[in-house]
């Protein structure tokens, strides 16, 4: 894995909301790297901090401590104007709910070109319109649609507009914050295919935030599981799904619904009890348990996890 180029590096990231007595650590000491050209999945329950990490990368949220490094350079705190402009263009986001994330009073043409207008990243108006047309075609919409309003589109089409809006900036790195959660199964399949195709054509890198694990398994290369602001496990997606180590990951994966009513009825769902760790005396660290497979554990647990991996080898 080490031969891959690192695109994004998150180092000991901490994000706190509120002050003094009301201070709340939303993200607590999170570190991971995203390689160029991969789809990196981030899964976790509601309120676990998935979106906060995505938003911090977009620089919507401030970072309390730690660093987010893009192509070897910090993107937070004091940065030069030209670098600020460059990363504004290079990092784009696709939002969760296409019904809420488009300006209802603006035409598609404006919605898609808003980023271009803000960064003045076009030569003349004809050039801008050409880019909007290309972006629309890229996501499988017709260029004529640019004169319409968002309410004239279906959910899947609106999400495509959201994707076109990100693509028009010619980004390298896209943060997709639950891009398919609000769509029905068939449209979800269309959008997933579209995201995968675009990734291959344009060699994009995604941070794919989701809570639907079947989707994550289908699309991502590596996955991190986040629980209450800490990453508890990170591995290649297939490895993580076939061999989850951390009890929270196991509980999460055991809860994935299968499209099979018989199996569902007989399923045993593991329940995660955070009290099983004794972290007061022996705080955990985020360590590699096997190559490319990281887990949050203290020494005692790490020994246990490693033993369970050994067992698996002899099976």
């Amino acid at each position: 894995m080490s031969h891959k180029e690192i695109l994004v590096e998150v180092k000991n990231l901490k994000i706190a909301f509120g002050k003094g007595k009301h201070k709340f650590m939303a993200i607590n000491d999170v570190s991971f790297t995203i390689f160029k050209g991969e789809i990196f999945g981030l899964v976790g329950e509601s309120g676990s901090g998935k979106t906060t990490i995505g938003r911090a990368m977009m620089r919507i949220n401030d970072v309390t401590e730690g660093q987010i490094i893009y192509r070897g350079r910090n993107i937070h705190g004091k940065i030069s104007k030209s670098w600020d402009r460059e990363i504004t263009q290079k990092i784009q986001m696709i939002f969760q709910d296409p019904m809420a994330s488009l300006n209802e009073r603006a035409k598609v043409d404006y919605i898609i070109s808003e980023g271009l207008l803000n960064t003045k990243n076009y030569n003349n108006d004809a050039d801008r319109q050409q880019r909007v047309r290309t972006a629309l075609l890229n996501v499988g919409l017709l260029p004529e649609f640019s004169s319409r309003f968002p309410h004239e589109f279906s959910g899947g089409q609106r999400q495509r507009i959201g994707i076109a809006r990100a693509l028009v900036m010619e980004p390298e790195f896209i943060i997709a914050d639950e891009p398919i959660s609000a769509l029905d199964v068939s449209i979800r399949a269309q959008v997933l295919n579209l995201l995968a195709n675009l990734q291959q054509q344009k060699n994009l890198t995604y941070l794919f935030i989701a809570h639907d694990l079947s989707v994550v398994r289908f699309i991502t290369d590596r996955t991190a599981v986040i629980y209450k602001g800490r990453i508890v496990e990170l591995a290649e997606t297939e490895r993580l799904f076939s061999n989850p180590i951390h009890p929270y990951t196991r509980a999460l994966l055991s809860a994935v619904p299968e499209p099979n009513p018989y199996k569902e009825r007989n399923k045993i769902v593991e329940i995660y009890d955070p009290a099983q760790h004794c972290y007061d005396r022996n705080p955990p660290t985020f360590k590699e348990v096997e190559e490319g497979h990281f887990v949050l554990a203290n020494e005692q647990e790490m020994a246990k996890y490693q033993a369970s991996l050994q067992m698996e080898v002899y099976k």
Binding site: S154, S186, I187, A189, N193, A196, F218, P259, Y262
Partner: protein
């Protein structure tokens, strides 16, 4: 349901593992669990019909790769599959050609039936 109309109704296992309507087939095929990584996931082509306009024949016909000529002319009635299972598709008419569901779906059906046997 499709376009304001129930197109297939039955017990859960009948819908999951013995679906008869092409729209039900398409829905199940779109599940990421049935796709394989790196390949295209099945998706339904086209868009849902505009309900302000009159729908002629089967509402799903324009998006249905298994559509018969009659699907564009006349709305199919409910055909009985079992005592509890009905589907609105001309494919169930005795005169219709025998059409098999997509291959990926057939293995999904088989696995489901196997589970039914065991339980």
């Amino acid at each position: 349901m499709y376009a304001g109309d129930i197109i297939e109704i039955g017990k859960t296992h009948e819908i999951f593992f013995n679906a008869k309507h092409p729209y039900t087939w398409a829905l199940i095929s779109s599940l990421p669990q049935l796709g394989s990584k790196g390949e295209q996931l099945y998706s339904i082509k086209g868009t849902p019909p505009n309900l302000f306009q009159d729908i002629k024949g089967d509402a799903f016909a324009p998006r249905n790769p298994y559509a018969l000529k009659i699907d564009f002319v006349e709305r199919p009635p409910f055909f009985q599959v079992s005592d509890t299972h009905y589907a609105r598709t001309w494919l169930l008419d005795p005169l219709a050609p025998k059409v098999q569901p997509p291959e990926a779906l057939q293995s999904f059906f088989e696995e489901g039936r196997r589970c039914a046997h065991e339980s």
